[in-house]
């Protein structure tokens, strides 16, 4: 963990964030591109859900998170507020681990 690593990574990370928001931000885009942009959250948030539920590094595993997230799906389906969905997901996962049903 060196200052060189921190500063280089900070520059790379900021450029990534800045390019999308500022360089493309002020421009009119063709309708096809606008439709695709609007679909980014649907694809990326789904990808974040599956990777943060089933991935452990580069392997796929089924652990307590899957049960917690499944209860979150039910809560979200029943229109529970975001806070409830998050707390339920974490609490169910913690309980499953506490009782040793799944790692």
């Amino acid at each position: 963990m060196t200052w060189t690593l921190v500063l280089l990574l900070a520059a790379i990370a900021y450029i990534c964030k800045f390019v999308g928001l500022v360089v493309v931000g002020g421009r009119e885009l063709p309708p096809v591109a606008e439709r695709c942009l609007a679909l980014i959250p649907a694809t990326l948030v789904s990808a974040l859900i599956v990777s943060s539920t089933f991935a452990d590094g580069s392997s796929l595993i089924l652990d307590a998170r899957a049960i917690g997230v499944a209860s979150a799906v039910v809560a979200a389906w029943r229109r529970a507020p975001l806070v409830i969905v998050i707390v339920l997901g974490a609490a169910v996962t913690a309980a499953v681990r506490y009782f040793g049903w799944l790692p």
Binding site: L7, L8, F18, A42, A72, A76, L82
Partner: protein
């Protein structure tokens, strides 16, 4: 699929703060991990303040801890940081205004702020959600990092199920995107691509590849 209830003012801000607090627990884990990997408290805190994208930071620290060199640490972390560029694209229609304001917004463009903002029904609420989530995560993440770096003892967020707090939150945030047929298709393709690629590609790349799901928008429906 029932429509999500609209989040209004105070409850929206409260949700954003709760999300930030959950991220703070991982800030503690990051602080502990970075100090264990040989980072000083100053370097560790500077990383959270300047880099501010959790997955990249964890990746860099784990490579260093495993004995990897600077290039290896930067490579993996940069792959993970690249998706923030796609988030910037998604937020570019909501976060308008002066270059200075957008330059600050850029630093806060991460998983949580983008997912929270794009789940809102209007541009106004999206802006509120973006700033509240971004700033709340920034404060809690850096506070957590400092506590973890100073404490230096292992606190495992998994014990409290915090590792499931993120997918659970993202589940609630994806719901509004599933109302249109295009949205459902894009979500299905994104999720499937990601899970299919996880075993075969370096960490970070599957999520980027999932963005190909937006191509369902090319065909006019």
């Amino acid at each position: 699929m029932p429509p999500a209830p609209p989040n209004e003012g105070r409850s929206l801000a409260a949700s954003c703060i709760v999300l930030g607090a959950a991220v703070g627990a991982f800030g503690i884990a990051f602080g502990v991990g970075s100090v264990s990997a040989g980072g000083s408290v100053a370097v560790t805190c500077a990383m959270s303040l300047l880099v501010f994208t959790g997955a990249s930071q964890f990746s860099a620290v784990s490579v260093v801890a495993a004995g990897g060199n600077l290039v290896a640490a930067l490579g993996g972390a940069s792959l993970l940081a690249a998706r923030n560029g796609v988030y910037g694209l998604a937020m570019s229609r909501t976060l308008t205004g002066g270059i200075g304001r957008r330059a600050i917004a850029a630093q806060l463009t991460i998983d949580e702020s983008t997912a929270m903002a794009t789940a809102q029904p209007s541009h106004d609420q999206a802006r509120t959600a973006f700033w509240w989530t971004g700033l709340s995560v920034y404060v809690f993440w850096n506070l957590g990092t400092l506590i973890g770096a100073l404490a230096g003892t292992a606190i495992d967020p998994a014990t409290y199920g915090f590792d499931a707090a993120f997918p659970a939150g993202f589940v609630a945030m994806v719901v509004p995107h599933l109302r249109s047929r295009e949205g459902r298709r894009a979500a299905l393709i994104g999720g499937t691509l990601c899970i299919a690629l996880i075993p075969f590609l370096p960490i970070g790349l599957p999520i980027l590849c999932a963005a190909l799901g937006v191509l369902v928008g090319v065909r006019r429906t």
